[in-house]
Chain length 343, copies 2
């Protein structure tokens, strides 16, 4: 027998957080970590290796967008609230998203060809079917990150940079982005790990405590410097008023959480099952990561934690409970198992 | 801090078997168990809790089909080799699959309405798009298990049962199925756990060693009783000649393994990332389970194990290597990470 090594370097030994039962036995299980912190990143509750670094991926789009506001670009370009929400979205490429991103680009005198995020099929099945019906291929505007990239382009122009350099890690636009991410998460820039995201932008690695700290600050921005506070307030208001813009109308938990709580919770998904939720006005936030990167466990765990930590009311939880999939039914509709969250 | 319990009852503490790297750090990881056994279920190599019971799900369709042969139904109904492969398939609902299942039903004087597996959208995207184009909804015939159900119906008629009782656990058809599964896996019937599968058929829970034992026997059936040996030889020949019938032409590793090895390997997927592979004529077989039920880790691990255990030639591995996703590229085509199998 040859046993594999138990832990890869740098990855924590996280506990089981979600179990899938079939009949009277566990069929599958998911491990991960989560933490609830205050605005200084102090852990108030949690499980697993929340102090170990994880890639935050798209969960930090609201941090990556701060220089767009602080540079004045949002005002100079005249972004509307739906467009502000798109700048921090991982959207489904529904028509309302792609038309919004096209408007953001047009405000800067740019076109979809300036986007460097790469083509991605729409997350929304109707949008995919409509593309297929027209015989068109997905483009960069359908990439779930196209709103973030449109914002990066707006920032680059505001800084006087050539637009084709907007993703370069060492050029001014991404340097400001990295600085904002570090400041909000409370990390020294040297402690912020970096790699390349699915959309080719720099992505950052940080402890879940740092991610939660950042969301606690963005969601309760009264103590921030005036320009940063104003930026956060505009993002919070945009998501509360336009929850469909940060994700989409088709099966997206971010939109459903923002909608069910009327923007009191400020949620964001990141690739490979990272999640962050700020609680407006409470200087608290939650951050989660599922080890295997899968969304079914993440969705169930989010609802389980909102219930256990009393971050959502009974009415809000009722609107979200389908994400928990407590009862598992098969193709014929028979109840064959259940999802259990260990929180 | 409240820590979740580390292990659910009855589920083993499996090691990390697959890591996803982004840049120079592990982003996600998958745990699981695997075992290589001989035809008596003795572990020759392995990792994790391969002695613990797992739901075998669709991986044992070839065992569930044995009574169909041994009862004489296959001959009386005149099943062709492609139809024999469909009886043990988890198919994509490509046209060649659904038309084959319709033929199987017609041979027994039955229709798709007799299938009790429930409607499932086709796994093949072209088949899904074609259904949508025609304004039709998926039916039970599109369920990946419809060939197995057509076979169960053929068995029930052969036994003189009313077709509507073909899934009843205590009726003759499923009693014979359960007995065959127990005999091949080397378990006493009382040690074979049971629950309801995604297609409403009984599904069985057994150690990976028992699953591998069964596949070693089916793939090297010389020592079995004559009728059982003949059944196994017909299934092996059908899969070797018609590998597209057990899964499909669109992104299915079972078909690709059977095709690449010209039927020398006898592979089968089960729900929630269970897998079994028999090695024809060698009285050895491999069984795997990924804890989180996800297929990306399963696919990578299968290829990693075929290489490490030298169960496939260099040429066969070359035909399968895309399933390992050693290099991970983003939407823009940049290489952003890699998949590592710990075998």
């Amino acid at each position: 027998m040859r046993e594999s090594s138990l832990e890869p370097p740098g990855y924590p030994d996280n506990p089981v957080l979600v179990r899938l039962w079939r009949g009277d036995a566990v069929e599958s299980q998911h491990r991960g970590a989560w933490v609830l912190t205050d605005a200084d990143g102090r852990a108030l509750d949690g499980a697993g290796g929340f102090d170990a670094p994880f890639f935050a991926r798209s969960s930090v789009k609201c941090l990556q967008a701060l220089p767009l506001f602080e540079s004045g670009a949002v005002e100079h370009l005249g972004y509307t609230p739906p467009e502000i929400a798109l700048a921090i979205a991982s959207h489904n490429a529904e028509e309302l998203h792609t038309s919004g991103v096209a408007r953001m680009l047009a405000r800067a005198g740019l076109e979809p060809r300036h986007l460097q995020c790469g083509p991605q099929p729409p997350g929304d099945p109707r949008a995919r079917a409509e593309l297929a019906r027209r015989g068109e291929k997905p483009g960069a505007i359908h990439n779930n990150c196209s709103g973030k990239h449109a914002g990066f382009l707006g920032l680059a122009l505001e800084l006087g940079m050539p637009p084709e350099r907007y993703l370069e890690a060492e050029a001014p636009a991404q340097s400001l982005v990295r600085q904002a991410v570090a400041e909000l998460s409370g990390l020294r820039p040297g402690d912020l790990g970096q790699a390349t995201d699915g959309c080719s932008a720099p992505t950052f690695r940080m402890p879940l405590t740092a991610l939660a700290r950042a969301f606690a600050r963005v969601s309760s921005p009264a103590g921030l410097a005036p320009a940063r506070r104003a930026a956060c307030e505009r993002m919070l208001a945009a998501v509360a008023a336009h929850p469909e813009m940060i994700a989409g109308n088709h099966k997206r938990i971010c939109t459903d959480i923002a909608r069910a709580t009327r923007g009191r919770l400020f949620p964001k998904l990141g690739g490979e099952a990272v999640y962050a939720i700020g609680v407006r006005g409470e200087e608290r936030a939650l951050a989660l990561k599922i080890d295997d990167g899968g969304y079914r466990a993440l969705h169930a765990l989010i609802v389980g934690l909102l219930r256990r930590l009393e971050l959502a009311t009974a009415g809000e939880l009722a609107a979200l409970e389908s994400w928990e999939e407590r009862r598992l039914r098969n193709w014929a509709g028979l109840e064959v198992g259940r999802t259990e969250t260990l929180v």
